[in-house]
Symmetry: C2
Subunit: 240 residues, 2 copies
């Protein structure tokens, strides 16, 4: 494939496999979730958010090129911020605060679904163990995140009276960051994946990452959408 054909194939994976298509997101964005279900979503997704800088530092830790490390470092800044209370993780906790969840309960991870943990941990392990090309390619779901974020903002603000713009401040910041990051990653894989083997690895990495995000929502859907099957030890919403 030529680089632009590879890009088209990557975008096609997004069109078919990105978690924007997941039934749970349809419920969430169209106002069909209970507050408890929104809480469960935010509490589980917190683990993903909390592990993102660990994933990104793992990528930097295997990268011998100072320029790529420097570029990737901006992701650490985005998520950890420059001081306490700043950055994506802190903004995610504003969301869980706004939804009425106890912050210590969220950060303790006690109510986390095992399916969320295993999916997120698989992502971190993928980035640590696969090639740098695959690790970078696995970040490419960010190509598709601006659309889902705008749907989520609009949908949640208009459909839930317990959600405010401030609660959702995490999502305000993400689209430009995601666009910058996915531009870099897309350019990298287009330049470095020039053989059929390498292009196959890149496509598989993006499919893998789509599966991570999809699997997290599957676990959530199975546990919290009727008929509910909350596994032992997992978060139980008060309105359930």
């Amino acid at each position: 494939m030529q680089p632009d054909e590879l890009e088209a194939a990557l975008r096609d994976i997004g069109a078919r496999r990105y978690h924007r298509l997941h039934p749970f997101h349809h419920l969430l964005h169209s106002g069909k979730c209970t507050k408890g279900q929104v809480q469960a979503w935010a509490l589980n997704r917190y683990y993903y958010q909390a592990m993102i800088p660990i994933k990104d530092a793992s990528l930097i830790a295997r990268c011998e090129d100072s320029a790529i490390r420097r570029e990737w470092r901006s992701r650490l800044v985005d998520h950890d911020g420059d001081m306490d209370g700043e950055g994506g993780i802190a903004r995610w906790l504003k969301l869980t605060d706004g939804l009425g969840l106890d912050r210590d309960e969220v950060t303790s991870l006690k109510g986390l679904l095992p399916g969320t943990r295993f999916a997120v941990d698989a992502y971190v392990r993928f980035v640590r163990e696969k090639t740098l090309l695959e690790a970078i390619a696995s970040s490419l779901t960010e190509l598709f995140s601006p659309v889902i974020i705008s749907e989520r903002m609009d949908g949640m603000l208009s459909n839930y009276d317990f959600v405010t713009r401030e609660t959702l401040s995490y999502f305000d910041k993400r689209p430009p960051q995601a666009a910058r990051d996915s531009d870099f990653a897309l350019d990298y894989v287009k330049r470095h994946a020039r053989t059929p083997d390498a292009q196959g690895l890149v496509l598989a990495a993006l499919e893998f990452k789509c599966s991570v995000l999809w699997s997290m929502l599957d676990a959530l859907h199975h546990a919290y959408v009727d008929p509910k099957h909350v596994p032992p030890g997992a978060f139980v919403p008060k309105d359930q």
Copy 2:
């Protein structure tokens, strides 16, 4: 031990084991090295410099505390800089340039001593595999670096006509960075190593790190100081 006793024990390790005491440094700083020996030192030490951000990102990658990750991130900034040509690695390459080494030869690592590679790789592995406490403690050689750097600057500038202040710009920047970093790491180990077992691990981590630095100079001394024993494939100075 009380925290201050632990600090005293750490400083005692530095007084006995830090590579400031290594015979090669006495030669280097007192003007007794040939230009070829100074080149060999800078070329080998380049690998240490190049791996430092990889070591630091490895530490960040295992750290669940956003505040510690944020603090440690400043080390990535110091070494990789904010743009091309900035940061500690780029400044180290100014040193190897100034010593007349070919930059591609330096960065290719082709002439590196195996002993340098193994010591540096052992350090990175230590930070990846030991506890976070030990990983942080292993950075504490920076407590002792301002003194050796000032001895090196003075000694090399007054003793070698092929060394200029600009060539040594790497060392200008390091003392305040090292002081900030070692203050943080020392405070961390004093607060977190409160049992005899934990304190033993902290002391052993610093001894380990002193051994890494010492071993690098042993390899250099054995290869390049009379009677020379340059191993197959390693850098051979033109003046040898």
